[in-house]
Subunit: 131 residues, 2 copies
DNA sequence: CTTGACCTTCCAGTAACTGGAAGCCCTATG
DNA sequence: CATAGGGCTTCCAGTTACTGGAAGGTCAAG
């Protein structure tokens, strides 16, 4: 399979797939004309990567997950540890964003948003205490 | 004021302040010894930037907000538009993260996390449909 | 006079791609 | 058979918002 086909099937841009090869996540064969030639196993790895990335795992997490995936002797605890850590980060990020959202939506509600210069948003950015 | 003092007062690392000068957000004077010499107005701008960044505004947003801040003839509508747009992005990001969190926490709960290789997390990364 | 804390500039690296240029390869059509 | 198109290749550069580190000048204290 050429890169274009894999791209469609794994829903990953060709550029991304080449990048994944560069950093050693997949190692497709080469046809005699120099084109990358993807095996089924490459295709599956790329799909796996696409899904892991869609869940927000970092590339390094993905590398580790992929290694565990191909290792039939893995311990599920190792996978779970990565996922749990990632989950914790996401939860903390959500909390951060919710706080920002609350502050911001309050300010937007306060601001008249007309042609006058008086603006509570700017006023708040002046005075708002830093955490 | 030297960069160290400003750094403490604005709660921004010196590196960041130098960077902000590089990209034209502040333009401190220079003492004869070559040291940056920050006026009160620079200090206020930096504090403003720190707060805007803490609310997640991009540097370009900050640049625009800063310009509006110093412009006494601004329309509050312009400020509000930036904040509203940013708020919308944050809300959508929160939704994305919540969806990821739900998926992930479900998987983590499902996974026994022991020494056995059987793992619902990996299984899901194989099969989970891409959006 | 030396030590240590500041300050300076400049270069490089981070994460995960993305865009673009220059150029080869393959197929189909006039 | 020439050529036009689309797909493929590599390589270089840019993105965001800094951060780390090296090499070296400045200043106050002891």
């Amino acid at each position: 399979m050429n890169i274009g086909d894999v791209s469609k099937r794994a829903s990953l841009p060709p550029k991304t797939i080449r990048y994944y090869e560069d950093i050693g996540l997949v190692t497709p064969e080469r046809a005699t004309n120099g084109y990358r030639s993807f095996r089924k196993s490459d295709m599956h790895k790329l799909a796996f990567l696409g899904r892991s990335r869609a869940l927000g795992f970092t590339i390094e997490d993905c590398r580790n997950l992929l290694a565990l995936w191909v290792d039939q002797d893995r311990a599920s605890a190792d996978v779970r540890a990565i996922a749990k850590e990632h989950l914790a980060q996401i939860e903390s990020k959500i909390l951060d964003l919710q706080e920002i959202r609350d502050t911001l939506s309050h300010l937007v509600r306060e601001c008249s948003g007309d042609e006058r210069p008086d603006c509570p948003i700017l006023k708040s950015l002046e005075k708002f205490p830093m955490k």
